[in-house]
Subunit: 384 residues, 2 copies
């Protein structure tokens, strides 16, 4: 297996992009990443996307986007694992290069969620749940996360306001990210007065419906060495694991087993432990997911993640900075693109290019990309 | 890169399976393949599927199916490239093993097309076309293939009835395949009298809407050697290429460039030429696709594939047998599953287990799995 690194990143601002279609968003991110890497044409393209078939009437995004980027002919496919599609696409690209099938591979996470009505979008997102055991009852994706949050609050005697620091931290970090959807502070008072979507989840516990694309160029270390001016970021681990889709079939509702397994595999591949990480780009689609992921990945004891956040340990100068460019909550969560945005943010930090949000001396970091309510989890550890 | 082989196959009969859901179909094929390989639990699962998000309200099939097979925890994702999804999933599995990320990987192509109305299904299939340049005009997928067939007939002065041998051959071979949807002979008279769907494509030029699942177990050669009683089939090439989705943007409408490129790459990887192949499992979703694919893959000169079929060269004793178990036309075409069915049929032949349809002395064979009207093409060459 060859050593693999990331040599280019690109992204579009996240928001409601009425004037851009899927292919335009992907083009912007991919061409920026290719220019950053200093390559003209990758050998392969892996697209991470969840909703285009329903919301944009478009399948076969791999070939569509490769062609629109001027790369007609290269191999290209889409990888899907609900909201973990972006991370899954990166993993496929890493293996294409590691196996020798490609020397360079582009990855693009792209999602255009605002083409559908709110009802259509909610229905499309609900396909991440088990259609025959959950979706059929009309449960939305927010409602499933609300069940988890309710259980967490009950089991660990944690009040709702204890989750506020996750959202406040994310919004604070987004202020300095020009690509973030919400570049504004969130106060505790605003959090506490926010309308409730599905109790106990309120507006600020939840990430937004939005459009965006992020891209990464993966290469073998040999290719990277031949490219002048690039700063290769090394892939130290790429691991994934699964759990049941339906919550009622989990052995332990609050343990997020796939996140735990995926993180364990990643630590083993990299020969590292949680304390080695300088930052963690967490999948904070809902504040409850941030808490559960921090615990499953070994950064907090069970039931303690919210208190850890209250103690300032997740801030840019804390023990384990999370959502350093705004996270899913404030940077935005175009679902199939998110896993790639997480990696772009981590690479930005490891290269020391995060500006006012720079985590000082960041050399090792982790991303965790979660599909559904934890059914597919992809973990990457990167190092400079 | 490690040597990779296929050590187990499984499939469900193809048809209208009202009593089985996606997960049941996948379970049947995967557990049969695992039993055939003599393994309990693969390290990873790659699902090929195109339509579940729209027709079955279900995304994240990887985790769903892994769990239903009793493999909770293993890594699992879905790979999508329209009708080439099955071949793309196999390619992902091959790379997972080749890169050392997995020692065994299961592949499952699965599709349940009959859950939707005929209009919903036609709309879902049209997502393989370019939504903004083709789909928006209301063009169906059959209509796009009809344009290609019309052009072929015009350019090469080939009459419609010249395509009949493709369908007659497929139906003839399906008679001895208990998993085929149409186990009945097709006569030239019936072909000529068939109702027209989109001129010039008639009912027998077109593959059926259907349900089914096929599975393959991929392993490193080291793992295969340790399993008693298996007959490993070697992966000699796994290659893919792309073209524009929209037909109007092709430089040459009848050259099927992605099929040509993909085949060329595959021959190069394997160090073989078309004449070395003992059989070719062709993507005969429409008879025009069989003709174009035979020409692009180097088995016939341009404009000659239909005549080659008339001369009996595609029969079980012909120069290059195709659709040996019935092909997409008569075995059936559950779209995301088809690429895996093609491979299962080829493995059956190479193992010498094809019964009355056995291609004598078959040692080398090729599959070609086509997405859309040729936008994504995945070619595999296998050998015993």
């Amino acid at each position: 297996m060859r050593d693999v690194c990331l040599i280019g990143i690109g992204q579009t601002p996240i928001g409601e992009k009425w004037d851009l279609s899927l292919r335009h968003l992907a083009f912007s991110a991919l061409t920026a990443a290719a220019a950053d890497a200093g390559i003209e044409r990758p050998d392969a393209l892996f697209v991470g996307n969840m909703l285009a078939s329903r919301l944009n009437d478009q399948a076969q995004l791999g070939a569509l986007i490769a062609d629109f980027c001027g790369w007609r002919g290269i191999e290209a496919v889409t990888v899907e694992a609900a909201c973990a599609s972006g991370g899954a696409a990166l993993q496929a690209a890493i293996r294409a290069v590691a196996s020798g099938a490609a020397d360079t591979a582009a990855v693009c996470g792209v999602e255009k969620m605002t083409d559908g009505s709110k009802v259509e979008t909610a229905g499309a997102l609900a396909t991440a749940a088990d259609a025959e055991y959950e979706g059929i009852h009309g449960v939305t994706f927010v409602a499933l996360n609300a069940l988890l949050m309710q259980r967490y609050m009950h089991e660990y005697h944690v009040p709702h306001e204890a989750f506020a620091p996750f959202s406040i931290n994310a919004h604070h970090n987004a202020i300095n990210n020009p690509n973030a959807m919400f570049q504004e502070e969130l106060t505790l008072q605003t959090y506490l007065k926010a309308p409730v979507i599905a109790p106990p989840i309120n507006l600020y516990d939840s990430s937004p419906i939005c459009d965006g694309a992020a891209a990464v160029i993966v290469a073998s270390i040999e290719v990277a060495r031949d490219l002048p001016g690039t700063t290769p970021v090394h892939v130290l681990a790429s691991a994934s694991a699964t759990d049941s889709l339906n919550l009622d079939d989990r052995h332990d509702l609050l343990s997020l087993n796939a996140a735990r397994l995926s993180a364990q595999k990643a630590y083993q591949q990299a020969g590292l432990v949680p304390a080695d990480m300088d930052l963690f780009e967490v999948h904070d689609a809902f504040s409850i997911m941030a808490a559960l992921s921090l615990e499953a990945a070994g950064f907090a004891d069970r039931g303690r993640a919210a208190y850890m956040a209250q103690d300032g340990e997740i801030g840019l100068n804390g023990r384990i900075p999370i959502s350093t460019m705004g996270g899913l909550k404030a940077r935005g969560h175009p679902v199939g693109a998110t896993g790639v945005y997480e990696v772009v943010d981590l690479v930005t930090q490891l290269r020391g290019e995060a500006g006012a949000n720079q985590v000082k001396g960041a050399r090792l970091g982790m991303t965790q990309n979660i599909g559904g309510t934890g059914a597919t989890v992809i973990t990457h550890i990167l190092g400079i």
